[in-house]
Symmetry: C2
Subunit: 272 residues, 2 copies
DNA sequence: CGTGATATTGACCGAACTCAAAGTTGGTGG
DNA sequence: CCACCAACTTTGAGTTCGGTCAATATCACG
């Protein structure tokens, strides 16, 4: 399998100068706005903040002034416990907003780190509030974005609170698949971007378990994986994994006796 | 230990007729608003929706029109997986808002059930958006409330993703303690309101584990517990449990050899 | 081509789960 | 008022999933 280039490089297309001609407009803050209102966002958005791989979009504990919208690249958000334990709270790709956790306290609670070179837009929060008082559509859409994040969080709680390791990985892969597909990339072949340890941190399991589950999925013909490159061979069967976790530790060659429940997870949830 | 009456009965004080004379005003939506602006909320809030114990404040899947603010009582929110697995996503008490998860999709994603007789205020969301366009303080405060929920969710992810059973319970108890204290109740003696199974569902562990950990905490003199009535005997030591989970399965009579890290969890997080 | 980081795999262990059996409590109705 | 019943809780015994530790294996990169 040759290496996969999934996420568009910031250099692959001309950088947008306005939200109006941004390719991820419909996934982002200006979604649903008319041309006139979109133009007003120019006073709110500071474009083309380039963050190189491993660089920080924002740091936990620092003062909050802006949200960040991802134009290109992939961002990992983590919270860190006093004793050093780290928890990945979200993986974000183009069109998504980060930093909303900071609105209450005025300080970011997460470290947001670029997993590859990123181009992000800074959204000055005070300006966003000002403008959204004048543009009801923008106001409502921003509320929807926050509401979406809350609903996503509840999905993650369900995952962390009541799913087996194999289910968690299946959910994780399917979620990435769906989001890549929504951005015009392949739904079946993509790059994980995270190492096994970070995947584990996000899913509440250890890196060895991640590795073992992926190996098993491969043995079972659900996918092929080589480091961070993954190709899903059987999306349907992967979906059936969820709710059928009991079959995880059986070998594929054995007949899947207990396969009764075939209900996939509610597709609405966006788990990363 | 005699039964404890912790949460004010809706009958114990006259019901407020306006936000201005509501006792939980400063914890709720009108926090920080002047008298004039508070008065404007009358067009937004429909007061005194009584929900009896076991009744629903809202149901997953039903159409979203309003948020709900809790005036009195205690509400449990849950999401349910297709296969029936249930995850408690939050426990909410007076002054808190629920339903924000529904803003995006227009449908509630949670079932919100009253754990005791509740008095809730319905906040018609369209009206709230309308008014918050006119009252910047209200707008910002609402954004803070949503941001607070997101930050809380990240704390729950940390709990579910990287804490041991004993730590989870310690965090849970300390969180309840803090929130009761903030509402003028005892910080050390209160009612859990949830049975062992629901506590477990919230914390991602099984009911037997909840029972065992509570028994052990009692043996160790950290608290006394009888069913849902709990009295914390040693708040400081309970705080030290967090980050010292390795000592969980040792008996108190043994010297706690490994007790080096005494850093409590960041107090900002509100875990329920 | 060597070296350090990452990934895989195996063996073993242990925290939490499962199953099961009492024990306890509160509510209901005789 | 008390007996009974259903629901909840506690506790024990055995199992298992995932963690831990350790030994390779593989890859990226200088």
């Amino acid at each position: 399998m040759s290496p996969i280039q999934l996420v568009q490089k910031s250099s692959s297309s001309p950088l947008p100068r306005t939200c109006a001609d941004c390719v991820v407009r419909d996934l982002c803050l200006p979604a649903g706005l008319g041309a006139k209102d979109t133009a007003l966002l120019e006073h709110v958005v500071i474009r083309n903040r380039l963050v190189e791989r491993q660089g920080a979009v924002c740091r936990a504990g620092t003062a909050f002034h802006s949200l960040y919208a991802i134009y290109s690249g992939f961002v990992k958000c983590t919270v860190t416990h006093d004793d050093g334990r780290e928890q990945v709270t979200g993986l974000h790709m183009s069109g998504e907003l980060i930093g909303m956790d900071a609105i209450n306290s005025g300080k970011y609670t997460c470290d947001a780190v670029a997993l590859e070179n990123c181009n992000v837009c800074e959204i000055v929060f005070g300006e966003l509030e000002r403008l959204s008082r004048e543009v009801p559509t923008l106001q409502h859409h921003f509320h929807r974005i926050m509401g979406r994040e809350i609903a996503r969080d509840y999905g993650v709680m369900l995952l962390l609170g009541s799913m087996r390791a194999a289910e968690r990985i299946a959910v994780f892969l399917l979620n990435l698949s769906k989001r890549y597909a929504a951005r015009g990339h392949s739904a079946t072949r993509f790059n994980l971007l995270l190492d096994r340890e970070r995947i584990g941190s996000y899913l509440g399991i250890k890196l060895e378990t991640v590795s073992r589950v992926l190996s098993r999925f491969q043995e079972d013909g659900l996918l092929t994986v080589q480091h961070k490159d993954i190709e899903i061979k059987d999306l349907a069967r992967l979906e059936q994994m969820i709710g059928n976790y009991r079959d995880m530790h059986r070998h594929a060659s054995r007949p899947p006796l207990g396969m009764v429940q075939e209900t996939p997870i509610q597709s609405s949830g966006q788990y990363a």
